[in-house]
Symmetry: C2
Subunit: 134 residues, 2 copies
């Protein structure tokens, strides 16, 4: 999966248009570096066994979190150039108020809707990441 | 190590000035997401047991590679917005012709000069990454 040549993020992002449908940019050991275009709401879901890293390349990402300690919900807002790690076991729902581009790092094979999730709306791709076509 | 709030990359990068001295932005399971400012030459080194991911946030990074198959050297050039994974076991030497900002992903504890390296010049920090002071 790992390319022997550098990959341009702008070129990678211009190679597809589907929303909430991550592409695998490269791999690092048994981790994927994925990019995705997003807008609107994802779905409440949880990864039981892995953290999930988000970096906002453009736009703005909101991540709603259900953290057990507090019992309530809070939302972290990531403007362009911000990063956040959702800890394993924390229910979360990404949301983008505008067209947004993100980079995500998680173990290869991690499903976009986690191990448990609410009903998946039709606009959300259930995937472990697609190969980036050159 | 993982913050419960988003981290701004520009703010993180403005919080230090040392070159070739990575800061740990956040962690993802047992991996670090590090940022560094670089300029000039690093040192030939190799990570025997891990790949190493580079993303150029600003500037331009060159990575010289000694790939066993070819027996020779080649250099990959990463302009701003480009990414590359150096495979484990490949000797490499980063070089930046201008002041450059990079994001690196590798397992926590990975040493900046790898498991084997040439003599380390004084301007290269031998570190597993510094805590980002807020």
């Amino acid at each position: 999966m790992t390319s022997t040549e550098p990959v341009s993020l702008p070129a990678a992002l211009s190679s597809f248009s589907a929303l909430w449908s991550p592409r695998i940019l490269t791999t690092v050991n048994d981790y994927d570096v994925r990019v995705a275009k997003v807008e609107g709401e994802h779905v409440w879901h949880v990864h039981d066994r892995t953290d999930e890293f988000f970096l906002v390349l453009d736009g703005e990402l909101h991540i709603a979190l259900r953290e057990s300690e507090s019992g309530g919900e809070r939302t972290v807002v990531l403007p362009k150039g911000s990063a956040f790690t959702v800890p394993r076991g924390i229910e979360h729902k990404p949301y983008a108020p505008v067209r947004t581009e993100i980079l995500v790092i998680e173990p290869s094979g991690t499903l976009s809707v986690g191990d448990r999730h609410d009903d998946v709306p039709g606009h959300v791709d259930v995937t472990t990441g697609h190969v980036l076509s050159s």
